[in-house]
């Protein structure tokens, strides 16, 4: 019989029911309550007719409720679909139908994004849902019958008993949405067995223990941030997230709870290191710092390893593969943290356009095998066939789109992206998606989006715009126009007006564009 996540949760709930599995600010969830509350919400979903393989949309920020809804869906064999709570109505209008979600769980707001409004612009007028369950006061719940507050959902539909679904290894555990949503959104089918085994292997590699506390800078609704936390949970430890990143409370929390593992991105680390009195915080409990999402500059890695005495483990990865390859200061200190090696439970190839291995010293696309490589892109067989290769042993390999240099000794060095993806402070932004939204603006005739290096956030989004006639378009105007349509992090940081945009967009044209600014 295959093991599943609930085997671990149930075991820890029996052994240490009062132990905290998840803490977000002052809110806590114990292993014991985890089992009880997922039974409550799972039973409610079942009563509404949700069952195995049905999709359960979740548009909520980091919260205990997010975690309960996610695992309640898994408990009944349904597939939770976390959506970025920054999503506006344009993104949701694509995501909800593409994921075939039957029911949605939403928060009232996230930062300035009014989530209930964004959903109610679509449901039920344009998109049907069984119910939209709102974690919000009754007064904020839309009057339509589709909408119900979480309190009423619990009192009207939920019980206390709910069987645990036993998934096969290749059953889809959840659907993960990546930030790109140009036309057809990229929706990842996460395998139950493979996701579990790779997270367990990585937790072993990092020597996580049940007494450990891990603080994450990435979010629950990001597949990477969620998965890294599960590596600790599978050991029976405690994970902590923030409702939104705050550097001072991050450091205070590390000190207060004697955190042993911190998970960061390079941008978050730059912010942390700039905190006045950074040196005065007691970080001596921290054993491992775990990095993902961005290129890690050597200077930052050096500060953590040499000054703070903290092991640095940098992973190059994507939501499609779970764990991939690492740079680990315990083994690789003295080398560049952009040089990666495979782990004992992963494998890498560097391939050319025809999928043949390139020679040492050459650049090619990084292709990775892990047990956790996604089953497919949900609803997109063409993209699945292009990106996921199956070898003669039936192992799934993922073509990452990362360009790497194949070096001696099994080392791969990150060399760039093969696609037009902008890495803005750990968020991936697809240039095409921003262009598509710009082109709907009434004053814009043509647009091209590219990236520019930025000292803090890595890359910023630059939009070159050819206005219609003599119109003038400012970033402020575009930001207002994007508001509610696309997430705030996709708004161009810089807008440059140009007389004409070459139709054949590529790297050469972008260089050309930078010289030809509008007078």
């Amino acid at each position: 019989m295959n093991k599943c996540f609930f085997d671990y949760y149930a075991k820890y709930a029996q052994e240490t029911p009062d132990k905290v599995v998840l803490r977000i600010d002052e809110n806590e969830l114990t292993y014991g309550d985890f089992m009880k509350k997922t039974a409550v919400f799972g039973s409610g979903m079942k009563k509404l007719g949700i069952g195995a393989d049905d999709k359960v949309g979740i548009c909520m920020p980091n919260s205990i409720e997010w975690y309960i809804v996610f695992w309640s869906a898994v408990r009944i064999g349904a597939q939770p679909v976390p959506m970025d709570p920054q999503s506006g109505s344009l993104e949701l209008s694509r995501l909800i139908p593409a994921t075939t979600s039957k029911i949605m769980f939403v928060s009232e707001k996230y930062r300035t994004n009014d989530i209930i409004k964004a959903v109610s612009d679509l449901v039920p007028g344009k998109i049907q849902q069984t119910k939209v369950v709102c974690f919000a006061p009754e007064s904020s719940v839309p009057a339509d019958d589709t909408y119900i507050s979480a309190d009423r959902f619990v009192s009207e539909y939920c019980g206390t008993e709910c069987e645990i679904f036993k998934p096969e290894a290749l059953h889809t555990m959840s659907l993960a949405c990546t930030s790109g949503s140009t036309g057809t959104p990229k929706i990842l089918s996460v395998p139950s067995g493979g996701f579990l085994s790779t997270q367990e292997d990585m937790g072993d590699y990092l020597e996580f223990k049940s007494s450990d506390v891990m603080m994450l800078g990435m979010t629950l609704y990001h597949q990477g941030g969620f998965g890294m936390g599960q590596q600790m949970v599978l050991k029976g430890g405690t994970v902590m997230y923030q409702p939104q990143f705050n550097p001072v409370t991050f450091l205070e929390t590390v000190q207060k709870y004697k955190v042993n593992v911190i998970q960061l991105t390079a941008t978050l680390a730059k912010v942390l290191l700039s905190t006045p009195d950074f040196d005065k915080y007691d970080l001596s409990s921290v054993r491992v710092s775990y990095w993902a999402g961005e290129v890690l500059p050597k200077e930052i890695a050096d500060i953590f390893v040499e000054k703070l005495g903290i092991r640095v483990v940098n992973v190059i990865g994507s939501s499609e593969t779970c764990t991939m390859v690492v740079w680990d200061s315990a083994i690789d200190q003295g080398t560049d943290p952009s040089d990666f090696k495979k782990l004992s439970f992963t494998d890498v190839r560097v391939i050319d356009e025809k999928h043949n291995d390139v020679a040492e010293g050459e650049v090619g696309e990084l292709c990775v095998y892990t047990d956790g490589v996604i089953l497919n892109y949900f609803g997109n067989p063409e993209l699945s066939a292009e990106k996921i290769l199956t070898d003669e042993q039936g192992r799934r390999w993922f073509c990452t789109g990362d360009l790497v240099n194949k070096l001696p000794g099994g080392i791969v060095r990150f060399a760039g992206r093969s696609k037009r993806i902008i890495k803005r402070g750990g968020n991936l932004v697809h240039a095409e998606e921003v262009e598509a939204c710009l082109l709907t603006h009434p004053k814009i005739a043509a647009a091209a989006v590219t990236d520019e290096p930025h000292p803090v956030i890595g890359q910023q989004i630059v939009a070159y715009i050819q206005p219609k006639g003599d119109e003038k378009v400012t970033r402020g105007e575009l930001a207002k126009y994007f508001d509610g349509k696309l997430s705030a992090y996709k708004v161009p940081d810089k807008v440059i007006l140009v007389e004409e945009i070459p139709k054949d967009i590529g790297k050469i044209q972008f260089k050309y564009l930078r010289k030809k600014e509008y007078k």
């Binding site: 930062r111 105007e477 930001a479």
Partner: protein, 83 residues
């Protein structure tokens, strides 16, 4: 204490965000009114440093939400950029 002029400060913000100076006051919310996200705020912080040659700690930038607070922060805690 740095003696920055608020009108000059507004102009830097306007140039960066594309929001007209007439719409920017000390009470303007950087998230709601300037349509920045937290990373965009760091971008604005870098631009301000470039124009004024004054550094402000990023972690303090992360905790503000009004233009006036940012101006006060720069005037009170801004340190000259080392050339």
């Amino acid at each position: 204490m740095n003696n920055l002029n608020f009108d000059d400060f507004k102009q830097i913000i306007s140039d960066y965000t594309g929001v007209d100076t007439s719409e920017i006051t000390a009470d303007t919310d950087v998230y709601d009114d300037l349509y920045l996200d937290s990373l965009g705020l760091f971008g604005l912080g870098s631009q301000i440093t470039e124009n004024t040659k004054l550094n402000i700690p990023l972690s303090l930038v992360a905790s503000i939400s009004k233009v006036g607070e940012m101006f006060d922060l720069l005037n009170e805690k801004g340190t000259p950029v080392e050339e």
